[in-house]
Symmetry: C2
Subunit: 184 residues, 2 copies
């Protein structure tokens, strides 16, 4: 039940509307957790019924701004410090990377090049955000997160480039270029 705690975490940073939370998932928390508005609005109502959040303001277009209650803050603390973490992950990108070895060298090169372009794109987006963060001089709560993302993408780029080099060596040293790595 991590959606609940992701919402509490975002509301601990600042009170927000469901709409703003939806964008925070896309912009700040996307690499750790994903949720769309159709999940967020019902969950906010459940959190309110449970007394963990409360409406702290209403604005234009029927919007409600939610904030943490003290028991919401305590629940977040318990989850982060006391509760036994669940370590299970789902990362479709990583799944793809780990299965690329099953392709022919030609297919593998094509797939690796697509992944490289994707990661390069993401990396440069993060660099722009990072520059902006540094220039602002603000101690934004997602500063460390941004830095982690930059380093992760650098690692991913190195690894993908090595895999691509390895796949190119196979394809240019006389080995058949159309045979799978393992004929199983």
């Amino acid at each position: 039940m991590s959606l609940r705690h992701a919402l509490l975490g975002l509301l601990a940073i600042q009170p927000s509307t469901g709409y703003e939370l939806t964008r925070s998932f896309e912009r700040s928390l996307g690499s750790a957790w994903h949720a769309g508005h159709s999940q967020i609005y019902p969950e906010l109502i459940k959190l309110e019924e449970a007394g963990l959040v409360e409406v702290v303001g209403e604005g234009a277009r029927r919007s409600r701004t939610y904030g943490l209650t003290s028991s919401g803050r305590e629940e977040l603390r318990l989850w982060l410090v006391v509760a036994e973490p669940s370590r299970s992950q789902r990362n479709e990108t990583l799944l793809r990377w780990f299965l690329l070895a099953q392709l022919t060298p030609a297919d593998r090169r094509a797939a690796l090049e697509r992944e490289l372009r994707f990661v390069e794109q993401e990396r440069s987006t993060l660099e722009r955000l990072w520059d902006h963060h540094v220039a602002s001089g603000q101690d934004h709560p997602f500063g460390p997160t941004l830095d982690f993302g930059r380093r992760y993408h650098d690692l991913a780029l190195d690894w993908l480039r090595e895999q691509l080099t390895a796949a190119q060596d196979v394809g240019t040293t006389g080995t058949e270029d159309t045979e799978p790595r393992s004929t199983a």
Copy 2:
């Protein structure tokens, strides 16, 4: 629908029973995707009905070994090379790390120390697996995966240690140790 492709990928490495696939998720693919046996057995039946896998052998205790059919191999190829990837992720551990900034410095230190112990443990397990892999001289399909995991864990250790140092500085330079970073 990545479970389907994760299974096809594992069966591309070698034909396996549902039980073996369950363990592969724990041991090899755990950092990319998770699935338990109660999901795997029904999915294997659906894959068989769809003609993507077939029973290639039966063993003791009613076990069936499944292998890829040629259309299963083609489906895997299409997914890896042609299909538009879905990039959404869920990583509860990362979610926790990104929300730690919302805790008091004391709580944050406690949580970071727990995370450090966990990652150190994982890292040493990977090192043992890596040593074994290198010693075996075999070109195992999860060799690159293992290497990625080692580097990722090194990055995570660096980052966590930096966060811990920062949290300790806050707690030892006269600042209140029991106040949240942001009083929101």
